[in-house]
Amino acid sequence: MNLKPWMTLAVAGFAGMAFAQDSNTLAIEGDAFVTETAAPAHMENVDTIYSGWRFRSSETQALETDDFDNPAFVFVDQGIDLFDKVEGTENKSCSSCHENVEDFAGLRTQLPRVDDGELVTMENLVNECRTERMGAEPWKYSGGQMTAVTALIGLQSRGMPMDVAIDGDAAPFWEKGKELYYTRVGQLDMSCSNCHEDNYGVMIRADHLSQGQINGFPTYRLKNAKLNSIHGRFKGCMKNIRATPFKEGGAEFKALELYLASRGQGLSVETPSVRN
């Protein structure tokens, strides 16, 4: 990456696709993954969607290709322990009812979804089980225990294409999420689309802007050396544009999560991914 042409481009005021996503292909443990596909019909301004993996440096990309090198797996191991841990008044563990965690294959691809008129995320489902069926305390929405278990459950869908429902009961939530995506907020007066739709592929300072896909969450970020949840990331983004963030697990973030999941339709689930 030669500095000179970059500076020339900047001077020419041409903030174009100078550093667009690379053309590397992702294979994890030998299996091929879809990191690029045609954008779903409802995305009017984007033709092709790319996984966030395609925007990271080659060293960061390499970390995701091997389940040992991927630092997220030490937290997946913690998730396995938590899955078997008996907690709560009913003296049960997750595994008391869910004998094989592998049976969760496919779940990550369909969440968030509408259950009994309410939009639910994976974190909601976990805490619902804990409080209503285990008699245990709910976990903090983006805390270490929750991310370890959502990483474990999401891993069971790894390689499968994202496929959330946006019609029928989901439609009003999806519309709300779409509206939020395009609404400017905060002191910096920016919407999600300003960076992730209008400027993906461009450098923002030293960061390579992605399309803001969520196919790899919870993700291990090099920045804080731990798993990060979807709503945790939304919160961070909002703070970065100096807006008061919505509540994690609240209606706005859930609607936004549904909308974003639909923008990733067809991309392979990469949970737990590695990002910067």
Partner: protein, 109 residues
């Protein structure tokens, strides 16, 4: 015991005598560097894994001294020779006095 510390190692299950064996190790540990300050401005004291050793059937493969510049969740990859079948022993030493250990067997033909 520092909380949430969990080792992970990758060792092939079998090898031929004389082969070079690639070993990967990771341990979940915050590696508090001693450079950070808390909200009141007080320095958060250093608390890291300061030493890692790998031995095979009692003989040393590698002995690493770690400083705070090693990233959170210390990762090491190195090469070993296993002259016969036996057990690799991995040991991590924490500033706070705790010692974490795990072992992995290997069949050498």
């Amino acid at each position: 015991m520092a909380s949430g510390v969990k080792p992970r190692v990758k060792v092939p299950k079998t090898a031929a005598a004389g082969d070079t064996i690639t070993i990967k190790t990771l341990i979940s540990h915050k590696m508090e560097s001693g450079q950070r300050k808390d909200d009141d401005g007080n320095v958060i004291p250093r608390s890291i894994i300061n030493r890692f050793t790998c031995d095979f059937n009692g003989q040393n493969v590698i002995d690493i001294a770690l400083e705070p510049a090693i990233s959170t969740n210390p990762y090491f990859q190195f090469e070993a020779i296993a002259p016969e079948s036996g057990e690799f022993k991995f040991t991590w030493y924490d500033d706070d006095g705790d010692v974490y250990e795990t072992t992995k067997k290997i069949e050498v033909s």
